[in-house]
């Protein structure tokens, strides 16, 4: 029994880390868009789904290397980010209702287009990394470890970008005071487009990787968006530290709770935990978004 307990603990820790890193990649993109453009991009989950499908299509139908497919997916979805910024978000700047309308329109079109065009067959992107790492009694798939490393390194890259580059500084400026930033001559459209591209590229990366970790469905974005929502609300919307911290918590809960609880109860308990935290800190752990 002791052996299986150790196995369970190690597997759970690794799972928690992999899940957290993927959730954080997505939530970070969402936060970027919120901070810089002040929009809630409800279509973020769909972007993730599209990224996964592009990678899958490139890797299986076209038949190129998975890593190359991943890069193509990131590039295509990144370009789509520019399109979104220009034609979806910019015209409705600051109007949350209209943003919801266009996002839902986009979701409806993309999800149904994918659903119709795919045959009934399960679709999984081929594994990026083969093999199992065995350390003593513990065995872990290399793929998980690599995914975790990719997640962490992307995270570090993004944080370095925000904190160390001129564009990153401009992004933070736009996030803090839009009009102040405009008056410094900062090209806000460029900054927003850049934020959109980064957010979409991160979503596409997470989607492509998760496409081989799990399997693809046109609805895969919905479930992950709920996770993103949990992270944002718990961490405090707009706070990057909050995303990192809450991402770890949600990922860990996701990996740990199912060990004791069954199916839907897991999600309910997790929501309950977050709601209890919110009752004491309505603005989230790191949020400042309270009036007066």
């Amino acid at each position: 029994m002791a052996e299986s307990t150790i196995l369970l603990i190690v597997a759970t820790i690794v799972n928690a880390l992999v899940l957290s890193s993927m959730y954080i990649l997505l939530a970070l993109g969402f936060t970027f868009l919120f901070n810089i453009m002040g929009i809630l991009n409800f279509a973020h989950g769909v972007i993730y789904m599209i990224g996964a499908y592009i990678c899958f299509y490139m890797a299986t139908v076209v038949g190129i290397n998975q890593w190359l497919a991943l890069l193509i997916s990131v590039a295509v979805v990144g370009l789509f980010g520019i399109f979104m910024e220009r034609f979806i978000f910019r015209p409705f700047f600051g109007n949350i209702n209209s943003i919801i309308v266009v996002c839902i329109g986009l979701i409806t079109v993309l999800v149904n287009a994918v659903a119709i065009s795919q045959p009934y067959n399960v679709q999984v992107t081929p594994a990026f990394v083969q093999g199992i790492l065995k350390v003593g009694i513990v065995s872990l798939s290399w793929q998980r470890i690599v995914f975790f490393l990719i997640g962490v390194s992307l995270l570090i890259l993004v944080l370095l970008f925000i904190n160390k580059t001129k564009q990153g500084l401009q992004m933070r400026a736009v996030a803090q005071d839009l009009e102040g930033a405009i008056l410094q001559g900062i090209n806000v459209h460029f900054v927003s487009a850049l934020a959109c591209v980064i957010a979409c590229a991160l979503a596409a990366t997470a989607g492509s990787l998760m496409g081989s970790y799990l399997s693809l469905t046109p609805y895969m974005g919905n479930d992950i968006m709920i996770k993103v929502l949990e992270i944002l609300v718990l961490g405090g919307i707009g706070s990057i530290n909050g995303v990192l911290f809450a991402g770890l918590i949600v990922g860990t809960l996701d990996a740990v709770l199912p060990i004791w609880l069954s199916g839907t109860a897991t999600q309910a308990i997790m929501m309950l935990i977050i709601i209890v935290i919110l009752l004491f800190k309505p603005q989230g752990l790191f949020g400042k978004e309270v009036r007066a």
């Binding site: 209702n97 266009v102 839902i104 409806t108 079109v109 609300v233 603005q283 309270v290 009036r291 007066a292």
Partner: protein, 329 residues
């Protein structure tokens, strides 16, 4: 001076008359619908439209206070499930459970809106969206009582008949009463104060409006009516499933309000009627039908920013401009 007031009075009275006549025509028209359309399916669609009209109108009421209640569909579900469970498992009369559901929804609404009433609009939107998801998860995890993910069936109905006509008239009456109450609230002091809070919370708090109190009040009123709509839905539709109240349904309700016109009381009514009924007409397209809804969304949002209610205003402006240019020639 006195005569001027009198003149204005009579003109406004005349306008009131035309208004009453317009309402009369509309209500007569709605009353005769079961005579025009005997197909039970068309009536079924109208009954569902009425339910969603209450839901969307109550959502707009909350939105006038600057809050974006993205848990609204979950409250619709809460009302529906409370009414369903009470009438099915407890054995209460559906007529009673319907109103209990409305009060339960109101209670839960008050309970959650208190801690979150000081949040900024965007944050409130996200927190309430999250709360809606949590509420549905809770309903889902209640297993045998609510049927879990699969849902609940064989809910007792309001009328013991297969005909849809009694439902139609009953729901029409409930809808009209709800709308009149919501309208009275909106044009009352409460409504003005809510709008003041939306415009500028600083000003409103400086003139002595308690922001938290009014925001909670808005949520309470909105949740009461959406709970009522949920109960109506449950005891008419016989089946319920959590997926009918998930976050995408909330977003669709926002769309009903926005496409109809957020700034007008009749916005959600028109929006719901258009967006609920038109896609039904195209349901023959099967899996291609959702594209029709999406096309309507894009068309309206890019052409009429303020929703469908602004179309007559735009038409009149166009007509006037045309008239004036022809005159100047």
């Amino acid at each position: 001076m006195g005569s001027m007031i009198a003149a204005r009075d009579s003109s406004s009275r005349r306008k009131n008359y035309t208004q009453i006549i317009l309402y009369g025509i509309l209500i007569c028209f709605l009353l005769f619908i079961p005579l025009f359309f005997q197909s039970p399916y068309v009536l079924h669609l109208f009954i569902l439209t009425l339910v969603y009209i209450i839901a969307a109108a109550s959502m707009r009421f909350i939105m006038t206070s600057g809050q974006i209640p993205l848990a609204h569909a979950a409250f619709l579900g809460l009302g529906a499930y409370v009414s369903a469970v009470l009438s099915k498992h407890v054995g209460l009369s559906p007529w009673l459970s319907l109103f209990i559901a409305a009060f339960v929804a109101m209670g839960v609404g008050i309970f959650i809106s208190f801690p979150f009433a000081r949040l900024k609009a965007f944050y409130y939107a996200m927190v309430s969206l999250f709360f809606g998801v949590g509420l549905l998860q809770a309903i889902e995890s209640l297993g045998k009582l609510t049927g879990g993910l699969a849902g609940i069936t064989a809910i007792p109905t309001l009328f013991n008949t297969a005909s849809k006509v009694p439902y139609y008239y009953c729901f029409l009456a409930l809808t009209l009463v709800s709308l009149v109450i919501l309208y009275r609230f909106e044009v009352s002091r409460i409504g003005w104060n809510l709008k003041a809070i939306d415009q500028s919370y600083l000003v409103s708090s400086s003139v002595g409006i308690s922001e938290v109190k009014y925001r909670v009040l808005a949520v309470a009123i909105g949740c009461f009516f959406v709970g009522l709509a949920g109960g109506m839905y449950a005891n008419y539709n016989v089946t319920l499933s959590p997926s009918s109240f998930d976050s995408s349904v909330t977003l669709w309700m926002i769309i009903y309000v926005t496409i109809g016109g957020m700034n007008n009381f009749s916005g959600p009514i028109i929006g719901t009627a258009v967006l609920f009924l038109i896609p039904q007409y195209f349901s023959g397209l099967k899996q291609y039908a959702p594209f029709i809804s999406a096309a309507i969304l894009f068309l309206v949002i890019f052409m009429f920013r303020n929703g469908l209610v602004c179309i007559p205003g735009l038409l009149m402006a166009f007509y006037k401009r045309k008239k004036s240019t022809s005159k100047s020639r």
